[in-house]
């Protein structure tokens, strides 16, 4: 046991309750009653509204910390997918030579996939780290997942810059449909949130989830048309691999908007929206119901 461990225990015992009864007039006195609690999923929403500045601060921290750490800073976020794209293009463009302007085809999906993968991993680690803090102080438990995924969406937007560059270089016209990309981002964001919530809940209780997840993600990557063209994966298991793959439906929206420059059909929008918002609701519900047990678990 180190000195810091001892001091934590000491502080926990010496825990003081500071009551600010004589608060300034413009500040209303907060009242907490454990009997008046609503359903955890609703309670969490109300708490988030109260702690909205915390979400902003945490998101800010995640963005600032990422760019201060690496020497190249913001440029790194753009160079990373570009590097992978170049390697994959060189390797695969001869195999999949029927696909027109393959680098763009690849990069549209790759940007989505890396955002999803990285944001969920960071959300998981951040909640596990945060659960130590949650044993000492009350915070809305969803704060850590929310802030990391919001920060990832900022990175996603930056990742679009090299994508547009590649489109210009490979001669893919940027059409007006590119203006609808923010709607796609909303879908990707809510799917990542939903999945991040599920994953984080499990990871708080079971440390081996952090080891299982990369294996799952590797498999998921090969089952999603990222560098393998859709036409090839469509033949696998009568197309059920794609139909049951939520990421495919979201990536399809981005490919339509950016690579093909067409408006996705109403059906495609519907499926993608159902998958994304469904995942968010499910993840939110599961996380909030289990989050009351986080402190019990310790």
């Amino acid at each position: 046991m180190t000195i810091t461990d001892l001091s934590v225990n000491y502080l926990r015992v010496q825990f003081t309750i500071v009551m600010k009864q004589e608060t300034s007039i413009n500040q209303s006195i907060k009242i907490y009653g454990s009997a008046q609690r609503k359903h955890p999923a609703i309670e969490e929403l109300l708490a988030l509204f109260q702690y909205r500045d915390l979400i902003f601060q945490l998101t800010r921290r995640d963005i600032v910390a990422r760019y201060k750490r690496s020497v190249l800073g913001i440029a790194w976020t753009m160079l990373n997918p570009l590097g992978i794209m170049i390697v994959m293009s060189v390797v695969f463009s001869n195999i999949f030579n029927r696909v027109e302007s393959y680098p763009t085809y690849l990069l549209t999906a790759l940007v989505c996939y890396t955002t999803f993968q990285q944001s969920t991993v960071v959300a998981m680690n951040s909640t596990v780290w945060g659960s130590k803090l949650l044993e000492q102080i009350y915070l809305p438990r969803t704060s850590f997942v929310l802030s990391t995924i919001f920060a990832s969406m900022v990175n996603f937007a930056l990742g679009l810059i090299p994508l547009f560059l590649i489109m210009l270089i490979t001669g893919v016209p940027i059409r007006w449909t590119a203006l609808l990309v923010p709607i796609g981002m909303l879908l990707l964001c809510s799917f990542s949130l939903g999945f991040g919530f599920l994953l984080s809940t499990l990871a708080v209780f079971f440390p081996d989830i952090a080891e299982i997840y990369p294996v799952l993600m590797r498999a998921w990557m090969y089952l999603t048309p990222i560098f393998v063209p859709v036409e090839i994966l469509e033949k696998v298991l009568d197309g059920w691999v794609l139909r049951l793959n939520p990421l495919h439906h979201i990536i399809k929206i981005f490919r339509d908007l950016l690579y093909y420059g067409t408006l996705p059909s109403l059906m495609d929008w519907g499926i993608a929206a159902l998958v994304s918002f469904g995942a968010l609701l499910l993840g939110w519900y599961f996380f909030c119901v289990k989050a009351d047990n986080f402190a019990y678990h310790a």
Partner: protein, 140 residues
């Protein structure tokens, strides 16, 4: 800790607990991993026992009162404080708090080395539940 008290908090009450109980469900064999958890479920060997850390706690701390809690190791002092600070939701009973709770955190628990001092102030104050407007007011 057992005191006679009214069934509702009075106007000068700050912290008020009624019949609070906290029960931990502890698996009979400790489960460390997800793999173990799934295997236990399949085998039907997932059994828990109850551990009551707190039972029938009644408390009425008036405003301005200085209140100390003493007890042996494992008596439930920390659990009680967790219940008061909203970290633990009690298994039974009612907790009622008027005002703000400021638990003393481990020094630098929420600090981030990459942020500036001012940024860290904003981050930590918001962890303690203050809004940006409140921090702005106090900082100047």
């Amino acid at each position: 800790m057992h005191r006679l008290q009214d069934s509702e908090p009075q106007s000068d009450t700050a912290v008020w607990l009624q019949d609070v109980a906290v029960c931990y469900h502890i698996p009979n064999d400790p489960i460390k991993t997800f793999k173990e958890y799934i295997i236990r479920i399949i085998q039907g060997k997932l059994k828990y026992h109850d551990f009551w850390a707190l039972k029938d706690i009644n408390l009425d701390v008036k405003r301005g009162e200085i209140f100390g809690i003493i007890g042996l190791n494992g008596a439930g002092k920390s659990t009680l404080l967790k219940v008061i600070s909203k970290v633990l939701i009690p298994t039974k009973g009612r907790v009622w708090i008027k005002g703000e709770i400021s638990p003393l955190l481990q020094l630098g628990a929420g600090f981030h080395p990459e942020l500036t001092g001012l940024e860290n102030i904003y981050l930590n104050a918001s962890i303690l539940g203050h809004t940006r407007v409140e921090i702005d007011e106090k900082l100047d």
